[in-house]
């Protein structure tokens, strides 16, 4: 029983894309699609400009719309709080793809089922970090068990402000942005 969560430190991310490719290689994601995407937000006017790199991927919400709308039980929340997918059961109705507020799900163009980030559950089983966290050159990605006070994520969350996009929807995502000081949401 763990409560896994992930965070991206916006002050450390330089948008190098290592996480995107690592995920693809590790999880055999078809070339056309990504389980994890990084994009850039520009704010302000010259010369007072701000730029941040935002990340979209499955947030493993505690109240997961994708699980709520799944008719077959293909999407489910496991004992570690991970939103997981039983590909056999998935019929490809795409209700979860539409329901996800973070556009984290997509239909696997080769296999037909609804894909998404798994927090690398197969690596967690071997006591390894998710591959995007493992490879991140700047250490912007942090992962761990929220119930364990000594975990990387709890340590990282301690001295930084937390920002949860679309928090008002109330899905209780387990993916955060970290910053010393928050800028306005674009």
């Amino acid at each position: 029983m763990s409560k896994y969560a992930m965070a991206v430190d916006l002050e450390k991310c330089v948008g190098c894309g290592a996480c995107m490719v690592a995920c693809k290689a590790e999880n055999g994601v078809p070339p056309e699609v990504f389980r994890l995407t990084v994009y850039e937000i520009e704010q302000g006017t010259f010369p007072d400009v701000k730029v941040e790199f935002r990340h979209d991927q499955c947030r493993h919400c505690e109240i997961a719309p994708c699980v709520l709308v799944c008719p077959t039980g293909a999407s489910f929340i496991d004992k570690n709080g991970l939103v997981r997918l039983n590909a056999t059961r998935c019929i490809g109705c795409k209700a979860c793809v539409v329901a996800c507020p973070y556009d984290a799900r997509f239909t696997n163009p080769e296999k037909g089922y609804a894909e998404k980030c798994s927090f690398c559950d197969h690596r967690l089983a071997e006591d390894k970090q998710p591959v995007c966290v493992q490879t991140c050159p700047t250490g912007a990605r942090v992962f761990g068990d929220l119930d364990d006070p000594k975990s990387d994520i709890r340590v990282a969350l301690k001295d930084k402000k937390i920002h949860i996009p679309k928090k008002e929807i109330g899905t209780r995502p387990k993916f955060f942005y970290l910053k010393k000081k928050l800028t306005e949401e674009a």
Binding site: G15, V33, L68, V69, T72, R89, I91, A95, A99
Partner: protein, 282 residues
Amino acid sequence: MEIGIANELGHVWEWPLGLHFVLSALVAGLSIIAGIAHLTDRKGLAKAAVFFAFPILIVDLLSLILDLSKMWSVYWLYLNFNITSAISWGTLSLTLSAVCLFGFIIDYFKIFPIPKRILNLLAWLLIGSSVVVGTYTGAMFASCLQAVPLWCSMLLAPLFFASAVAMGAALLELFKFGENISGWSLSLGAFTACLMLILYITELYSSPKATQDALEYLLSHYGAIWWATVSLGFIIPAILAVIWIVLRQKSPGIIGKSIALLSLFGGISLRFVLLFAGQGHF
């Protein structure tokens, strides 16, 4: 910057699902009329509704399957029930409707006689399942929480249901055989649908920023179709319905035909516009 692609989701739900929504509405409307007509002893009307509803239901189920990207796994719909999933409810109710309608067809073709008590029970079941069939497509939209701002309204469920009744009645009015559809049911359907739509639009306008953006998208990309749908498909039929009730005509006549035609157009158009505009990018 250059790095920063997102998966090109585009329209996740495509036209087969829009077709499914339209056909489900017709099935729901027809079935509920069939059930009520049977129980109120208007056998001719009931028969007409059943004969329309059953084949539409078959095509309807096919259109649902057509939209699945892993359609050979469709049997899982029957092996699992998720109480929070609109599709689960939809599958269940559509199947139940199919069984009930099939019961009536067996009886009508006298394949083997079904006792009246059982037929009455089937009629009640049909009414019940039709309410679910009529509302579930709306609920399917609404259950997307705030992921899709345009759909983020539970009012869509009663709106879709009222419109479904209007569409069922309209179909029977346009292609009448056997007994006439009562003008009351036609008018009531059209009127309620219009009321619900007005409520829905009012809600949209008083919603948070995301919905306002979505609304702007809807009006800029689908503006002409949207307002045509609202005015021709809902407001005018409602006005005609009031006129008809005031005139107290027995048979709907030309006004009835107009209500029927416009309601059908409104119902179909509303579903497609909401489906596509909802998934637009804003």
